[in-house]
């Protein structure tokens, strides 16, 4: 008995060894590029926080100086505050309006396909290209948008030059460009809700609002959760929109963390300090993601069969 097992064991061993070898041969390209372009960069980012580095001179160890500098950096604090403003404005738009749009299109019947395509299309075009075009549209004196504002009896709106209005401008652009992303997730989420629930509720005499509150919302909660996480992570890294539309301005009114990182590292050539900020950004996003995962048990419904 023992001997027989040993024999099959040795055959199994050989097969297992061959399988291991084959698997790692298949994985080799992925693992090598993962280590080079994801693994090493992340480790470098962490280590770099303790060094002064400008790419030209060898890095010098400065201990906690970068971190102390970061805590006292008023420009950075402004960038954090601005990024939080974007979070407060953009997340409700994408997570909230995206759901409303999906709900409307889902019930639109015949034109669903057209609406869906039109809403989603801007998300796949080049952000830089359309942001530049929108920059012309938003121009105070010559832009097409202010033309319509004047037509309706208003006066020119300083879309890109007023510290407060500029947030509306970026929110409008962000809505137009990216609402399709969250819209599509919600739309698919809605399609996955069995219609039987609605039919049963209708028989019981529930109205549209009650259906939405007691069927759609809980059954959509895994989608809402997913959208919320990805959206918060994305807005935290917002770069293209402020860089292309306002370059962080007017003044530093729309300078975000990502813009600050870019300017610190590649315009002031302070790579070490820029790396510290980007590592801090990474840790913050990680903490938020973990908190959202921990909090999800309170309101996300996964099992409704």
């Amino acid at each position: 008995m023992k001997k027989a097992m040993k024999n099959t064991g040795s055959y199994g061993d050989r097969k297992r060894r061959r399988d291991n070898l084959a698997a790692y041969a298949f994985l080799a390209p992925a693992l090598v590029s993962f280590i080079l372009f994801i693994g090493i960069p992340v480790i470098v980012a962490g280590v770099l926080s303790f060094f002064d580095y400008n790419l030209i001179n060898p890095p010098t160890f400065i201990g906690l100086k970068n971190i102390k500098k970061m805590l006292a950096d008023r420009g950075l604090r402004q960038a954090f505050a601005n990024t939080f403003k974007f979070l407060l404005i953009l997340c409700p738009i994408h997570c909230g309006l995206g759901m409303v749009l999906a709900f409307l299109v889902y019930r639109a019947g015949r034109f669903q396909y057209f609406f869906r395509s039109a809403i989603y299309f801007p998300t796949i075009v080049t952000t830089a290209s359309v942001a530049i075009a929108w920059g012309y549209l938003f121009s105070t004196d010559t832009g097409a948008i202010n033309y319509f504002v004047r037509l309706l009896g208003g006066s020119n709106i300083p879309w890109l030059t007023n510290r407060v209005v500029v947030y509306v401008t970026i929110a409008l652009f962000s809505f137009w460009k990216f609402i399709g992303t969250t819209f599509l997730y919600y739309y698919i989420g809605l399609q996955n809700i069995p219609t039987g629930y609605y039919e049963a509720a209708e028989i019981d005499g529930a109205n549209v609002f009650q259906c939405f509150r007691h069927i759609t919302l809980p059954l959509l909660s895994p989608t809402i959760f997913f959208v919320l996480i990805t959206n918060v992570v994305n807005v935290f890294q917002i770069f293209d929109e402020p860089y292309l539309l306002t370059n962080g301005g007017p003044g530093s009114a729309t300078k975000t963390i990502a813009l600050e990182i870019y300017q610190t590292a590649f315009q002031d050539m302070n790579i070490g300090y820029g790396g510290t900020i980007s590592f801090a950004l990474f840790l913050i996003i990680l903490v938020i993601t973990v908190l959202q995962y921990v909090g999800q048990n309170k309101w996300v419904v996964y099992d409704y069969e």
Binding site: I38, T127, S129, Y147, F226, I261
Partner: protein, 254 residues
Amino acid sequence: MLAPFAWIISTSLRLSRDSFALPPAFFPTSFHIENYREVFRVFPFGMVLFNSLKIAVIVVLANTVISTMAGYAFARIDFKGKDVVFLILLSGMMIPAQAKLIPTYIVMSRMGLVGTHASLILPAIISPLNIFFVRQYMKTIPASYEDAAYIDGAGRFTIYATIFVPMSRSVIIMTSLLTFLASWNDFINPLIFISKYDRMTLPLGIKTLSGAMGTGSVSVVLAGVTMSLVVPLTLYLFGQKYILQSAVMSGLKA
């Protein structure tokens, strides 16, 4: 949602001095094709177009080979450390792009690649999300297909290349589309890695063009913008089904 596109195209066909003429046009009122010729004259636009295409195609090919090989291993082979390796790879998805920017720049400058197209291509060839998509798909392929091939004496690589890759066509088209668009639309990486005009990709090229033109020739800039939209539009028309499918699959991940 579509009005801005109508305005972009219509204005790109106006005379430069009329680009801000009011009322704004949403349908072409004139056809000044010379704006398009002008883009190529004032800027190495042809080269920039070619760069974008070249980089996106190489990225898609390399990424597809890497993702399908790794996806196959995770889906169909039992091996030591499978779960751990998979988890480590997936954790790569959690790392925000902005946080990788500076360290990637340092790695590239160590390799002497800053300013080259390799600095844009190499970091894009590995995508944990694509590996995940391929794995999910390949797991659903029935074992009978590979068993038959084993009996015929085929090796692992033959089975991967002649059975699993062709059968995973739809997921490969999907990841290829997403990877192509991500490369085509990428702005921040070219911004930090590329400074020479003739090495730029489209988004950076158009930004540079608009900076150089100021507000003088909006129509010419918009002609460039219009051309940059042709490729995403074409892919959208032909691949909408696959793009929708990707949203379904990444929703499942959560």
